[in-house]
Amino acid sequence: METATGQLSQTAVEVLSKTNFSTVDWVIVICYPLISVVLGIVASRFIANMKDFVTAGQSLGTCLGIATLTGTELGLITVMYSAQKGFTGGFAAFHIALAAGITTFVVGVTGFLIYRLRAMGIYTIPEFYSRRFGIKTQILGGVMMAFGGILNMGLFLKVGSMFLVGITGMSDQHLPLPAAWGLPAIPALHAIMAFLLLLVLIYTCLGGMISVVLADYVQFIVLSFGLLLTTALAVWELGWADIFTAVQQIKGPAGFDPTISEGGFGFEYIVWMGFLGLIGCSVWPTSVARALAAESPRTVKKQFMWASVSYTIRFLVPYFWGICALVFIMGHDAQLKELFFPAAEGAKGVDNLYAMPIFLGRILPPVLIGIISAGMVAAFMSTHDSYLLCWSTVLTQDVVAPLFGNRLGPKTRIWLTRFFIVLIGAYVFYWGLIYEGSEDVWDYMAVTGAIYFTGAFALLAGGLYWKRASSTGAVLALLAGCSAVFGLTPVQNLVGIHAPSARVGLFSIAFTLLAMIGGSLIFPDKPKPEKEDAATTESPETT
């Protein structure tokens, strides 16, 4: 428990330091990411142009597509915020996983958005904006996407590093710097953040999408089997039936029934999660990037149908780990219970993000804990590389290049993309150091992501399926997407409103769709010459 000065007591530090993590596990964790660096160096030999760098030559088969989709979306940040949701929401949180899986499967079956996008042969979503609505919409769309996306990934580095310090028992330790530097010891969390960021930047800059795909494949193998094994061990440790009984005792019906609003969810939240599931697979740029890198539109549909299993499991298993951590803390370790839920009135408990890694640190045996941690670090890296590549590509291709009248050569574009990768990396490190939000990470991410995706959804759906969608409607919809920022607690405090983030998100969707429809009807585009019109609204079936 924290003292008045904000420091943890000696007993608390000792409790948090208990772990099965050994020296061998450290060796595994440090050596494993180097595989990705080597892959980046090898892959860099195959980069000849922007198409190779951004979409791996648009040559991904079904299995590799599923592996890379899973590798990207099953990141350590997902595992951490999902475990937190399972910890706070119990089994009721499973509805989010179910919504994600069902919507992804439906998108796979119908090809909603992704099929037509891939059939157009574009590289990025703003490129679609350009072809459908004009260059101004492309630039504005690129800026909005990068703004929302970079803000969204602001906590990735910190939360990912929290897993590593939590599982290794270093959550409150400091590392000494060389005496010659004359600087005080730095928190282990910050040192881990710097180390991981450096590795990610090196191989993302070197290899682009090809190295990302290869790293994702290796990560898929390690993490898939690691997830299954860890889940089996958690059940073995706590007992299958006992887990359900314990949740019932701790949380009551709200721990299972998501329609009960007292549990933190309710019908409004379920609808919001349904929409997020749809967005997560069909509009979120890192997912769409995989669709655009597929070898054909048919492959995209197949890839998404199968990936629906991954989209479910990426939430389901971490929720379960969070639930197990709750059961373990509440029923198996009185010291941990006191740390996370202090009995003293007004006392602040330990950040619940640490619950799952501490739980795993206690139940997993040496070597296995190293492999699981290495898999998690790989997951962390594969998410970072994809996001860094995605946002930097958007800034290069859809903001800077159009501003220069598309006169930039391929080599300049690749170097510019690498420059943005490093710049975003520096921001993520800085944001991780200064941000001290109190909301669940998942809700923070949903809101920041909504700044981009609410507008993007209106533009994609309108642009692909509604002939009368106009460029003015598109610009208005993109700007209307900014309304999602009112879902953030600091912004709500600033303007003096208090509404659940789910309600603000749903309002924002309605607002952007209204802006798109109203703007298009009131300010329609001038009719294009027939030839040009055919090129921009090409039917996928004819491609």
């Binding site: 079904t62 898939s224 299993v309 991954s310």
Partner: protein
Amino acid sequence: MSLPLEFWIVLWKIVFVGVVCLFGGMAVWVTIGGVFDIKRLFARIAASHEEDKNKAESGKLNPKSEI
């Protein structure tokens, strides 16, 4: 009007076990199939580079203008 607690407990048990088993099977398939996809990926990229090179040599495409 909410459903009985037993319904939710059974539902989440079925969903969890079902999805984990499905994922286990898919993990094996993707691991094996991925090796073949990687081979194909490099073959296609190499062929694409070769094609671009031939086009550039025959004057059909200026590689510097390609994005």
